[in-house]
Symmetry: C2
Subunit: 205 residues, 2 copies
Amino acid sequence: MEEERNTEQLILNAAKKVFLRKGFDGARMQEIADEAGINKALVHYYYRSKDKLFNAIFTEAFSTLIPTIEELIEKEQGLFEKIWGVIDHYIDMLSNNPHLPMFIFHEISRNPERLLQFASNIGIKPQKLISAIQREIDQGNIRPVKPEHLIVNIIAMCIFPFVGRPMISGILMGGNQERYQAFLNERKVEVMTFVLNAIKIDKPQ
Amino acid sequence: MEEERNTEQLILNAAKKVFLRKGFDGARMQEIADEAGINKALVHYYYRSKDKLFNAIFTEAFSTLIPTIEELIEKEQGLFEKIWGVIDHYIDMLSNNPHLPMFIFHEISRNPERLLQFASNIGIKPQKLISAIQREIDQGNIRPVKPEHLIVNIIAMCIFPFVGRPMISGILMGGNQERYQAFLNERKVEVMTFVLNAIKIDKPQ
DNA sequence: TTTTAATTTTGCCAAATGGTAAAACCAATC
DNA sequence: GATTGGTTTTACCATTTGGCAAAATTAAAA
């Protein structure tokens, strides 16, 4: 009884590891089975096809990457707190799942129809965030950045270090892994400061 | 005689299209042949293997994405002009090659050893740029951003709209393609303004 | 202990895929 | 017009890979 779930979870963990690292096209059912320490046919026994198994992984990964942002934004009151909440959460989460964004972006890029599955779940919430930012601008609390750009800027600065890790680490840091790790540790504060300076109004005093 | 080059180029163009869209694992030699309107065996006649053909594409793509940045930085004098040069060039180039960054980042992520091939070509130049930024900080011309972060921020904000196109267009813009296009058109100025505000020193007057 | 149901393994298949040998074709040269 | 060298197509192979049927195993129920 407990074993079922155990095996099922074993497969999921293995599949996640393999799919996230290699993508759908690069992943092999055999490798997933090996990673799970079981037989290939057993993978098919629990998840009938590669597609089905992939969908399970993709759905979970997508949920990890996206909906949290909505809650985060609702949670905090002020705009700056909201922004810090997003940066703080995202960089933590990505540090624990470094392959996640590349996986999601690549798979969606290869097969954009996947997004449609989730589009309905998400609804119109982005518009609410955009309006909220616009309100801050109208009230003179922050500089007049186009809200869509501000949002993309923040997300971009959080995600890019992970999508581009080998390039940053290899080229910018000259292959020095410690330097990359230090870079990651500084990242939250650096991004927050950067955004803050970019949008805050100069107080003449 | 001229035909050779024509066919060879035909294959390269087709391969570029297919590899950039689907990645190495997702690409099929047959599809490349179809795309070029020729026979599959002919592809092997010019480029012996899928790997060889892929390397040709990857090398060209990598060169398009990276070394230009070095020249750009040398070209302009002031830091702000350098930054504008990078933003201007990158967003133009990526508009013409939207799949390029996803392709490069994904393939490097899947096979980081590839970077080593190019590491030697690149040398220590990033350090020069980092020093240049540090100098500006020391001279009190810009705020004290850690240079590595400033560089990553700028690149991230330029590249992300292309890596994350389906997400931005689908979720943030509610699937409205025109809005995404408008977003891209505004992008250069928005990024430049954002960076400028983030690093410039408030002049009390 | 026997029966039954679920789980796991074995052995295998059909399709897809990268690759190649050899034939066919074509253009220029002798 | 035959020969030669490069190009293109045809036909095919070996391997990989997703998937499955059926046997084997295990564990629980009767």
